[in-house]
């Protein structure tokens, strides 16, 4: 199985739908342990991504993802803009040249994305950030040998849920120290939506 331009567009479109639908929920999560703008930020960014992609003819997955990355970087701001932007940019760079991306390349691309996010955010796993969804995902996919929608969905979900118990040491939630416990990390929840969208785009096929 490969990952095509149509699937990439579908991925981003579905990501946008989920984020728009859960915009208020994401902001509420951020209200509890941050500054309450995460839903607004992601919704603004993905709305622009979909607008940007709309009507364009893409030959490569890399071009779709690059446009998404650049749009996120220039329209989101805050912490999530550079981080999600970096993630998609790294994926885009790693899949460059392949019209239909193989599983191996895709996993490698996700691995680059995680490395990029870690470097940008000066963060590691276990600090209650989006990395806690992205990093386990790479580990899990490295152990598989083809795309598997339900694996992706389940892994993202359980990782996202696990952020609840973590005491934050990066991002705004870190200011709250122990009080950050018991709340989901908003960036992990939006990451979960993005992986859920990926799973759906894989299920729907090319």
């Amino acid at each position: 199985m490969t990952f095509t331009v149509e699937q990439a567009i579908n991925w981003l479109t579905k990501s946008n739908e989920k984020i728009q639908k859960n915009k208020d929920y994401l902001s509420e999560l951020d209200q509890a342990i941050g500054d309450g703008d995460h839903g607004i930020n992601m919704a603004r960014g993905f709305d622009e991504v979909v607008k940007k992609l709309d009507g364009n003819d893409y030959e490569q997955v890399a071009d779709v993802l690059k446009d998404a990355a650049m749009t996120l970087m220039s329209k989101v701001g805050g912490a999530s803009g550079p981080l999600f932007g970096t993630a998609f940019l790294k994926i885009s760079m790693a899949v460059k040249g392949e019209e239909a991306v193989t599983f191996g390349t895709f996993v490698k691309a996700l691995e680059d994305a995680v490395a990029g996010v870690k470097q940008r955010g000066k963060a590691e796993e276990g600090e209650k950030t989006m990395i806690d969804v992205w990093s386990p995902m790479v580990e899990r996919m490295k152990a598989a040998d083809d795309f598997d929608a339900s694996v992706i969905r389940d892994n993202a979900k359980s990782s996202m849920e696990a952020t609840k118990d973590i005491v934050a040491t990066k991002g705004r939630a870190a200011y709250l120290k122990e009080r950050s416990k018991g709340h989901l990390d908003p960036g992990s929840v939006s990451s979960y939506y993005i992986f859920e969208a990926l799973a759906e785009s894989l299920e729907e096929g090319a």
Binding site: S27, Q31, G34, G36, G39, A79
Partner: protein
Amino acid sequence: MKKIMNEPNQIVTEMLDGFVAAKPGKVKRIPDTTVVTRKDSPIQNKVGIVSGGGSGHEPAHAGYIGKGMLDAAVAGEVFTSPTPDQVLEAIKAVDGGAGVLLVIKNYTGDVMNFDMAAELAEAEGIDVAQVVVNDDVAIDDVDGRRGVAGTVFVHKIAGAKAEAGASLEEVKNAAEKVIANVRSMGVALSPCVMPASGKPSFELGDDEMEVGIGIHGEPGTERKTLGTADEIAVELTNHILEDLPEAEEIAVMVNGMGATPEMELNLVNRKVQEILQEKGVKTYKTFVGEYMTSLEMAGCSVTLLNLDDELKELLDSPSDAPALRV
């Protein structure tokens, strides 16, 4: 939510229009950006000073644009760092050949976006230096400390140094000296409301206050029973002084969080000055007002800056920025 506004998603651009319309002779907006600069930018051979961050901290940051302070301010969405492309526009607009200093508050988002902008600017051949302000002693972990009202002193000192013709490195050093010597802490009596969501940032009982708040409506580090003006002044000042042991001669800022009447700030200042006097710390200059706010949050912060002769001179040198005239 009760706000005087139009469409929430137009609030930043409309605010900038209103700001520039009030000072047409002094500032200009770079079209299609959220960047405001001095009318006379770029100034040849002067180091440019760029600051910025999310909106909702007014008069920060555009209010500090002026001769002797900032050359440009970049406004993000409410409480959201501006994006690298916007910061880059500001850098390009104020670079007069002597390089540009970015004044960044220590938030993950701000640090990343400004850093990316610096990379882009360097790629275009502009010398860029960065300083990261982290004056909020409410956070124990020094690396994680937020940049709050102390940032205004960084603007002032760096701006004065640049105006005096110093090099990028010298301006950066002056800014770093402020950062090493400035500490702040704040309390909130009421939350703020994001225009786009309409929801209060937290709920507080009638007799409660949040201690150790930032400037984004984040909850504070501790919730306590609402104290008197004197108690609040004691709590904030002592906490700061513990972290600033070498305090001898200082500048004081009593800053309102957005909805605090000046009367209340003066009450706090009264006690802060009393405490300093008791401890034998000399106040060189005092600022009371709204300098770094959190939308319509009620509350205040206290900032103390340790001064040496260089900082005193730079603090005293003229500024025609609307929010800090010297």
